[in-house]
Symmetry: C2
Subunit: 232 residues, 2 copies
Amino acid sequence: MSLILLPNLLDEGSDIDLYFPKNLKNIILSLEGLIAESEKNARRYLLRFIDWQKLQRLQIKLLNEHSKEDEILELLKLIENKKIGLISDAGLPCIADPGSKLVKLARAKNIKIEAYPGPSSIFLALMQSGLNAQKFAFQGYLPRKEEELIEKIKYLEKESFQNKITQIFIEAPYRSDKMLNLLLKILKGDVLLSLAINLTSKDEKVITKKVYEFKKLKVVIGKNPSVFLLEA
Amino acid sequence: MSLILLPNLLDEGSDIDLYFPKNLKNIILSLEGLIAESEKNARRYLLRFIDWQKLQRLQIKLLNEHSKEDEILELLKLIENKKIGLISDAGLPCIADPGSKLVKLARAKNIKIEAYPGPSSIFLALMQSGLNAQKFAFQGYLPRKEEELIEKIKYLEKESFQNKITQIFIEAPYRSDKMLNLLLKILKGDVLLSLAINLTSKDEKVITKKVYEFKKLKVVIGKNPSVFLLEA
């Protein structure tokens, strides 16, 4: 019947009244099921809005990077008959997450789709960075192999300069410091680098500096979720 | 003292409880001033949350595409002393709007910056399109001159195919139908094109089809705000 794209938090501990639309609770009360990346995550999400008893009556289904084509087709059958929500583990569904595969199939079947806003690490980082946001590209994860990664960073720097575009990318938390150090080593000194750490949490930190200034700060990210942005 | 980046609606008539965080009202009550693209827009925004009397006590300042460097520096002085909000005419500040110039200067002065989520036409279009959102680029407005525009569209199509990236762009409403017709003429038949019209309004419409299928629909956008997306 319909697929409802719902926001999730970026940080477990943050205040839903600061980051979710006021009427999200009513939308969730009207759902007949929820598709999430994990069952634990789905329950935690729902319990912010509804009680345990109501939760038992809601179908929970999974969609994540392990989902196979036929499992996605099963989900499609579900939303053909019911009003189902879709959430991501963090932030907005579909953005840098496998949800878009389901939306694509649902669109082709003319299933009604609705979307509501909420925190996006990409946009919260971009807005707060001060970097040019007239044009920007979200590159997802960069290559893992160091040689390819170095090539990619150089390419992104060049493209940013030529097309006046801000480059945005992410990295697995345990590799964030390695990424930062590589960026500081490779990028030209006057490139603007912005780092957004722990967005929406009480430890939120956004640093925007030219590379040569950034080097002096000796920033350590640790395993905190972060977004990288650069403008050459 | 601080700069607070606040969401605006995409459509005047849409329900703030569906698109704004619940606590936005409290944040706005705590402001000492608001920076907006026009005074009329600022007043209309504030009156959604506060009464006329309270409004009189709030400073309203302008930041738009006509703002000169020294005017932006004046705004910076204001936020060094007070808690000031920043809004865009529609959607999120800084994203495809001159707000990022102010944020950049504020960052350099270590002024505290906070950001809250709300509707973004770019993300609402991308989420609902079903197009790949693992990587995407927002290109802003494309060139005006037809010859350059055709070159650009061909370049974006090629880059989308090569880098598996979804291209997102906007157009002035009165040129939207011209843009759509040009896209249908130039793009290869199997490119996925998505068009999001009147997002968040009661007339919201999202169409995602391969170019050859799109041609049969004879879509007319008129002067309705729209976002274009393509995946080759």
